[in-house]
Symmetry: C2
Subunit: 421 residues, 2 copies
């Protein structure tokens, strides 16, 4: 049993064990990793009742803490949700193994043959809030990519995460992989988070999953590299050459399908020349759909539009609210997005290839879209099977982060007694 | 004229200008960047005398400071060396432009077409010591990869770097690219370095070029990500199944061709079964070539071998000195390299494919070699044309860092009014 009162010592021990497990995992056969994930899914399916019981403890704790209904819902596990977690584990199990794959290879005139092959990053730290399923998702993706992982879940999902974690460890055991490959921080003490953020020698990357408060804290305090996005301030620009039907479909979907996800639209920019032909109809449809549209002076002419203040530009609502303004041209839209955007996902609606090209080359969001809903900003919709999060940084990982982006590489060079002149 | 007394304000201004230039450079045509580098080479060739004059000032300063003959040599520019710098600029100019290239593209059942295209990182900070040619090399690679760069050269090469920098700016001007794309810190004040290391919002990555003192300082203090290697503790392992001729050629070349580069061998590991057949001859040849071989108890039996102490394992000599020891088997060699190596470059000499495979999968150095001299650890020898340095970290860049690894990417997604269900 770990000494839970000496957090630095406990985290150091967890980190060292993770480092040791990572060294083994780096050359673990693809088949063993696949088997471990299948066995974990089997274990979780078999223990559904026990996991629901553990979840009941968390729900009682949550009620005592007065969690909001939305948070209580996120925290709740039932047989259907547990079956979905099992499916997720099996999906990752079935994916191609990224490790050891040759990314590029070539010959040099010196006689050298050079191969660039994919390797794990090492140890990943995942810090998350209430959703217990992240335990399984993050654990599975890290194992698939040959990384050891240290999971630090929210205090609300403490018992549920522990029960799911037990199943992951059972899977590792069944496949004769090191049990320390997937470790869980066994305390609610927040000092463990601070500790993780400074473990530069034992953790290679931290992935925070949760609200702006958590992500901001991690980005500010971490000395370990971080894959994350702070906010998804998603813009949709309706160009002069936009198609009316596509525009209506895409804007409504981007705002209203689910308002709480990071790919939901937060700001609508309308080219002056498209205002009468398309813009007004789209804004009316949004108002009719129950969206609070906060518009600039011009858009306030439309019934139901309320005035926007300066604070509305660059604001992430995650709600049925949308900021909206008219721009003089595409460069006005680009300038607005550069100033207020968060480099997450931004979209242009246009039939004009030159306008789309200008938008694509002059902006540097992780995801740029044309005539498609920004709600597609998701690892599953990108064909990655699963994602550990979406990153807006420019170093290493960007956009939806799946198993492949949790990897590094090394060069394998072969000669025939080759010497350098 | 900048106020050289208020370093934080000056660096902030330089950083902001770099950020603005980077936004332009991100979509600068490949042809403009090529033309700028050609024009810079022309300007440098035309101003050879002026650069030699500036260099004379630096040489006088270096003599006053009592620089070692080796450092004075590194600092010296003559017509031949300037011509070589011009050639380097033209080589980078002629390389393929990495920016905008499609790295991968695919279609999704939802109707989306997804493209992953290469983008610049943004702003690169280069901190280097005496060699004035780094000004041209680093400036050229950053421009090629669409990055703005802030160059902070060593105080010894202050005037030479300024003269070379002038030529780079002339090239930018000739191609109508923003002059702030390549900026130089116009002071010897060390406070500028500390300032750069903390400019997380204005610099995306720092590349230190120089000795262990400089690189260690940067790695310890920087809050900005760093591409670097602290040391090249390069191991060569002579396996039981090594070929005698290849082994002799490769070991001698790896140690003696140039002792001062990071790919020079620093430690020789010999499989017990190869000791009498190959090991002794190789060690004798090293001693005959003037190498001080510091051996373990067994190797001390060979004439001329001096005793190694514990400090010799994991030591970077950059000199005609080599640590050497006998290991029981390949796993002994792997364990030694894991314990004492620096994840830079390590080599196995063997004709046994299974042994090579074990070495390649169980070690995670940035470069692993088989039957080839470790002195090939170089961007030019890898076919990259030029390198800004060699990185041993696992995030983003690894091994020789050329123009391509100074890039990031973004996703360009196209639909036909596609909405998410």
């Amino acid at each position: 049993m770990k000494d839970l009162t000496d957090i630095p010592a406990m985290m150091d021990e967890i980190g060292r064990k993770a480092r040791a497990a990572a060294a083994e995992l780096a050359f673990a056969p693809a088949e063993a990793k696949r088997r471990a994930l299948e066995a974990a899914a089997d274990a979780l399916a078999a223990r559904t009742d026990a996991v629901i019981e553990a979840n009941a403890q968390d729900l009682a704790y949550g009620r005592d803490k007065g969690l909001s209904p939305a948070m209580m819902d996120r925290l709740t596990l039932d047989a259907g949700r547990i079956a979905a977690i099992c499916d997720g584990l099996r999906t990752v199990a079935a994916q191609d193994d990224p490790i050891g794959a040759t990314i590029a290879e070539w010959d040099m005139p010196s006689g050298l043959h050079i191969r660039r092959v994919r390797t794990p990053l090492g140890v990943v730290g995942v810090i998350y809030e209430s959703r217990p399923n992240v335990t399984a998702d993050a654990g599975a993706l890290c194992l698939k990519s040959g990384n050891a992982v240290i999971l630090r879940g929210g205090s609300e999902s403490f018992h549920s995460s522990a029960a799911i974690h037990d199943c992951l460890v059972e899977g590792l055991r069944a496949a004769s992989l090191p049990e320390d490959a997937i470790q869980r921080v066994p305390t609610r003490d927040r000092a463990a988070v601070s500790e993780m953020l400074g473990m530069v020698d034992l953790i290679d990357v931290i992935v925070p999953r949760g609200g702006k408060g958590l992500v901001g804290l991690v980005q500010r305090e971490a000395r370990v590299p971080v894959f994350a996005h702070l906010e998804g301030i998603v813009h949709i620009y309706v160009d002069a050459a936009a198609d009316p039907v596509k525009t209506l479909d895409v804007v409504l979907n981007a705002k209203t399908r689910r308002t709480g996800i990071c790919g939901a639209a937060e700001c609508l920019l309308i080219h002056r020349d498209a205002l009468d032909t398309i813009g007004q109809g789209v804004v009316r449809a949004l108002v009719d759909a129950g969206v609070e549209v906060r518009g600039d002076a011009e858009l306030q002419q439309i019934e139901g539009v309320v005035p926007a203040s300066e604070d509305d530009w660059g604001h992430e609502y995650l709600d049925m609210i949308l900021a909206a303004r008219v721009v003089d041209d595409i460069d006005g839209a680009i300038a607005h997005i550069r100033r207020y955007g968060s480099n997450h996902t931004d979209c242009i609606l246009t039939e004009d290839d030159a306008a789309a090209e200008r938008f694509f080359t002059r902006l540097d969001s992780a995801i740029l879209m044309r005539n498609a809903s920004t709600q597609f900003a998701d690892g599953g919709e990108f064909g990655m099977g699963a994602e550990i999060g979406i990153a807006t940084g420019k170093m290493h990982a960007r956009g939806p982060v799946g198993a492949e982006q949790l990897t590094s590489f090394k060069y394998l060079v072969t000669g025939e007694g080759s010497v350098r002149r």
